[in-house]
Symmetry: C2
Subunit: 408 residues, 2 copies
């Protein structure tokens, strides 16, 4: 589908034009939360459109779950209907009143999260962590190239972009036994999250060729991590309180349909995965990702956010269809709203890592910032902004940003 043009002003060269149309949940001073689709700097009120008979009833819900549950055909139908509403000038008079300026919209968490599963799919990230924490062993553990390693996180603490992040307290290792207090190694993880559409029944694995039918869309994820809490607690059952205090997701969920032009081959997998993990089609996505930071001092000085790292999603070793097939291979059921995190997206160069743990190489090499500041881990007042943007063959699609400021 090529990028048509919309009658909505300022959308011609926008990363939020007709080819994108991400979904979100928004409220305004005069109206309760309802679904919206972003077009340029406006939000189309999907409930109003559904009430006017222009969209099916799922669009009148107050979460994205009913639409996500409805499956691919419905997703296409709704997307086409929205594209037509926003491009057909003969409908402009009727549709225009359904637009709210983004500045007037308060964005909410767009979907009810079922289970939140976080993977570990970047080879560079897994190897970086291995080199730092197991310097005398091979950087990757023996299972890593055979399966998408993952774990369950706390779905009740998934929050929308903009939610302030209170610095977590917890136990950490001390010289004379463990101590309790605010984390001293507060970090981010730059990830993409794939959101599950139709659920499945217990005992019915999803064959990898069908995985796409269960994946609705993508959000940007900041998997906040307290490295000191995590290091002391994680043996033998994995990360727990070092991660569970908050996970921020972008308000906008970009449908996979909008990302089709950016689909690309994933990296070669060697050894070849077991049959249940052999992906039939390309599941790499060529999406640029960025980490930007504003400190309290920078805000005071009026400085713009500082670009700390840039990377691309296409090099992720394990792909979303493989993760979904693995997740269900044991018969585990899916629920609409399950969120599959890619794991930290780290590229091969030092300024392309997706966490401060890696960017500062475990705190040994501070990241320089404008105005002479440096960072190893996050300080109170720091605001982190993660964004994504895909550009290819004339197509341009922005992913929603995920932003969070650390408070004491």
């Amino acid at each position: 589908m090529s990028r048509g043009s919309s009658w909505v002003e300022g959308t011609h060269d926008s990363a939020f034009g007709l080819d994108n149309l991400p979904y979100g949940l928004f409220s305004t001073v005069d109206a309760a939360p309802r679904l919206g689709a972003r077009i340029g700097d406006h939000v189309l009120d999907l409930r109003a459109a559904a009430d006017a008979g222009m969209l099916p009833p799922e669009c009148a819900a107050n979460s994205l779950n009913p639409l996500m549950a409805a499956g691919r055909e419905r997703w296409s139908e709704v997307r086409s209907a929205i594209q037509s509403m926003l491009s057909d000038t003969s409908r402009q008079t009727r549709v225009e009143p359904m637009l709210a300026p983004l500045t007037a919209a308060e964005l909410r968490l767009a979907f009810e999260v079922g289970d939140w599963v976080d993977f570990y799919a970047s080879e560079q990230h897994a190897a970086n962590v291995g080199k730092m924490f197991r310097p005398d062993a091979p950087p990757l553990l023996p299972n890593w190239r055979h399966m998408p390693v993952g774990y369950h996180g706390r779905s009740g603490t998934v929050v929308v972009s903009g939610t302030p992040i209170k610095r977590p307290a917890g136990q950490r290792h001390g010289d004379d036994g463990p101590v309790f207090g605010p984390s001293e190694r507060l970090d981010i993880e730059l990830e993409l999250g794939f959101v599950v559409g139709p659920g499945t029944s217990l005992g019915e694995p999803v064959p990898i060729a069908h995985a796409g039918g269960h994946l609705f869309g993508v959000c940007v994820v900041n998997d906040w991590s307290a490295r000191d809490i995590q290091a002391w607690e994680y043996q033998p059952l994995g990360p727990f309180l070092g991660k569970s205090f908050a996970t921020s997701v972008s308000a906008w969920v970009t449908p996979l349909a909008a990302l089709e032009p950016f689909r690309t081959e994933q990296p070669l997998q060697d050894p070849e995965p077991l049959p249940y993990l052999r992906s039939p089609g390309p599941w790499g996505f060529d999406i640029d990702l960025e980490i930007a930071l504003t400190t309290a001092a920078m805000r005071e000085a009026g400085s713009a956010p500082h670009l700390v790292a840039t990377t691309n999603f296409r090099d992720m070793y394990w792909t979303a269809d493989q993760q979904l097939a693995h997740l269900t291979a044991n018969g585990a059921s899916l629920r609409t709203g399950d969120l599959l995190g890619s794991g930290t997206v780290s590229g091969s160069g030092r300024r392309s890592y997706g966490s401060f743990l890696e960017l500062s190489w475990n705190g040994t090499d501070p990241v320089p910032l404008p105005g002479g500041e440096v960072r190893t881990f996050l300080e109170d007042g720091d605001e982190v902004i993660l964004t994504g943007r895909a550009r290819r063959d004339g197509h341009l699609v922005g992913l929603g940003e995920v932003k969070g400021r650390i408070v004491a």
Copy 2:
């Protein structure tokens, strides 16, 4: 509160008398799922009672969550009202039609599970696992005596007692690299689960002295585990597919109020925990627990379930109030329906272990069964029944059983 007597037949010496009154969700051929309280071999229809004005509106819901969310005062009020309905003979004529025989009730999952967190609180269990898997190291890892170690499980695959358990497939270690197929080391874990009542806001830890106000009741939990899948996958992020295929819980949730007579000192903790984990009151519970097994051959021979192990909950090192305080110490919020698993309950004698991993000592010492059969791990057709029962000073309270049969 001493055990009064109920006009319901056969409840005088019952483990499900007036002092117990666990809650569940049931349906009958002629009526949709509704809340019930078990009395002897009957279920009191709480929706009917609420509709008749005898109970508050939370009791008319089709899950336990609204009542659990309402808090302690409401819990007491409802419990007293039910006790009065079932003991006051002047109300018998009005209340009797609200009773359904258990045999006519199909039991459902009583509550919507928020997050499912599984701990690892039995010292004997943690030490047994350590001895088997790290024979040359101290049995307990350095963090174990300092915090209730735990991890998040898959809440979407928590199922009610009676749900058939399909043997999970997965990757496991093989001599020439990993292989994929049905688990060959399918196991159980005998646990109690504490269910969260009122939720909390993000960033607000629950002080340990307030933990009790957030804990509504207790169910019996079978945390099914595929040991071969788990062993290959769990480094470094913890258990994942080895546990996520199903977790069975009893249909009946016993309110903590019913377990007060069995409250007892927990074991001495040495070293003394950090202040945020210092429990102000006794949080041990003197509850006998049992594992029974019926194999396909035993069923054919008409044999009764065979008692495989018996243990008691009172020796658990970490207690539910400590687990709840730890879980929220980093600011993680609670949701009504969050489920806190105790971890496998293992006693000090060989026949008091809470898993086949331990009972068969990692498969090296098979468990003898009637008719000459033996078991290391579970075979298809095996049915496992976990039950609990507390008896003390004339009080008798049964916990709901959790039952599950393995299917190929």
